[in-house]
Structure formats: structure tokens, C-alpha cells
């Protein structure tokens, strides 16, 4: 993969990995404080994430982490990245068949799965796959 072409994904600088941690920490803090101020239990955090802006900031944080450069960004890391993206993309199939198509066929026509949940799960799959594959590559080296 030596040639640089315009179809190759552009990555954010490495320091975005730290910005992401700040965003997620701030977001969760504000969400918990908001629950506390509205006199609601922590169990409603999930509902709050899906129905308000808090969930978007979690996705933004995960996105920064997933698409920022490593300290050493070489060809092996690029391959690991593509491999992990493919895993995340394949999780679409599981999600579509397991959580959308089968429930809708089994007679719940109004059922709709939230798209932000899907993207957050995909990002998590990508990050976990990337970390595991990167570690494997380091062991091989």
C-alpha cells in the first residue's frame, strides 16, 4: 500500500486520542449531574444517552479515538486498521439480521432500533478489534 490515493481515509493527529477521553469524561459527568439534579436514578442513564445530546458526544469521543493516528503510523498499523474496520462493517450483518429483520418478521412492525446505538456499538467493535490486532502485530514483531 505504498501509493497514496484520494480514496484512502484521512486520520486526525495523535493528540485527538486525549481530547476524546476528555469529551467522554465530561459528557458522562454532565449526564450523571443532570440525573442527580432531576432527581432520577443512575438506571436512567441509558435512556438519557439515547434521547438527548449526551449520546452524540459519546459517539464523537469514540470517533476521535478510533480515527486518530497512532504514535507510529506505518503500513502494518494501516493494515490492522482496515482489518478492524472490516470486522465493524461485518457487524452490520449481525445487527441487521439479529436485531432488525428477525424481530420485524416475528410481528413487531413498529419496532425501530436506534441508529446511534448501532454506530456506538460499531465504534466499540472497531476499537476493541484494533487494539487486539495491534497487540498481536506487536507480539509478531
Amino acid at each position: 500500500m505504498k501509493e497514496k490515493d484520494r480514496y484512502q481515509i484521512k486520520l486526525l493527529p495523535n493528540y485527538f486520542k486525549y481530547i476524546d477521553l476528555g469529551i467522554i469524561a465530561l459528557d458522562l459527568t454532565f449526564a450523571v449531574v443532570s440525573l442527580y439534579l432531576n432527581d432520577k436514578s443512575l438506571l436512567e442513564l441509558n435512556y438519557l444517552m439515547l434521547k438527548s445530546w449526551y449520546g452524540n458526544f459519546i459517539i464523537l469521543g469514540l470517533f476521535f479515538y478510533a480515527f486518530s493516528k497512532e504514535k507510529i503510523e506505518d503500513e502494518r498499523i494501516a493494515i490492522v486498521r482496515y482489518k478492524s474496520i472490516t470486522y465493524a462493517f461485518y457487524s452490520f450483518i449481525v445487527f441487521f439480521f439479529g436485531l432488525i429483520l428477525l424481530p420485524s418478521l416475528s410481528g413487531n412492525p413498529d419496532f425501530q432500533y436506534d441508529g446511534r446505538m448501532l454506530i456506538a456499538v460499531m465504534l466499540l467493535i472497531f476499537i476493541v478489534a484494533f487494539l487486539i490486532n495491534k497487540r498481536k502485530q506487536l507480539i509478531i514483531r
Binding site: 452524540n56 486498521r81 445487527f95 441487521f96 432488525i100 425501530q112 448501532l118
Partner: protein, 139 residues
């Protein structure tokens, strides 16, 4: 990208035609829905709308995950790039849509997962064919 470890299972090439047939059927079903104005009948509304959308996504899935006639390393490289673009677009779409709602002061809407999967698969197909044609032209 010469890494033999990245091997993924794909459907045989003739599944592309099956995918196209499924998409064709759902488009016809969608047109019939509009012509006969079935949408106003409450008992059918959710079920048929879902059926058409899911059928369309299923057709796109089959096309995306079926082999090309010549499935070599270059085609696999195009696949990875297209998947990356579709993944990235899906995420940006999810982040930016609520922002658009906020900027244009419209109601905060929930994005359905089907909608995002459909958009991402569409981006994959457009990107994949664009790369393939561009590289073919270069040769």
C-alpha cells in the same frame, strides 16, 4: 495491501443478480404502495414500509458481500477502502444529523438503524464502483 491473513468469506458472484432481483421487487412494491395509496391504511403502514426498507437493505447486503467475477488482491483493496469510507460516512452522518436539526431548529429526531445501514451500504456501493472504474480507466 499484501496481507494474506485478511481473508473474508464472500458469497458467489451469481448472488449479485439475486440481490438486484430483491432490490427490483422492493422498488416495484414501493411504487405499488404509492399508486394504490396503501400508506393511509393504518394496519399496513408500519408493516409494509418496514418490509420494503428491509428488502432493499437485504438486496444491498447481498450485492456488497458477493464476489466480483475476478476477485483478486486489488479488488480486496478496493473493498477495504470502500468499507472504511462507508463506516466513516455512517459515523459522520450520525453525528451531524442532530446538529443539522439543531441549526435549522427542527425537532430532535431519533435516527433509525435501518436508515444508517442503508446509507452506509449505498456509500459503499457508490465508492466501490467509483474506485473500480477509475482504476480500470488508469490501466
Amino acid at each position: 495491501m499484501s496481507n494474506k491473513k485478511i481473508e473474508f468469506k464472500l458469497l458467489p458472484n451469481y448472488f449479485k443478480k439475486i440481490g438486484l432481483i430483491i432490490i427490483g421487487i422492493t422498488i416495484i412494491a414501493f411504487i405499488l404502495l404509492i399508486i394504490f395509496n396503501i400508506q393511509h391504511q393504518r394496519e399496513f403502514k408500519g408493516y409494509l414500509g418496514d418490509f420494503v426498507l428491509n428488502g432493499f437493505i437485504l438486496g444491498m447486503f447481498i450485492i456488497v458481500f458477493s464476489k466480483e467475477k475476478i476477485e483478486d488482491e486489488r479488488v480486496r483493496d478496493f473493498r477495504y477502502k470502500s468499507m472504511a469510507a462507508a463506516f466513516l460516512f455512517g459515523i459522520l452522518f450520525t453525528i451531524l444529523m442532530p446538529l443539522m436539526d439543531f441549526l435549522f431548529q427542527s425537532e430532535y429526531k431519533t435516527l433509525s438503524a435501518q436508515y444508517i445501514i442503508g446509507v452506509a451500504l449505498g456509500i459503499y456501493l457508490i465508492n466501490f464502483s467509483a474506485i473500480r472504474h477509475e482504476k480500470q480507466d488508469e490501466e
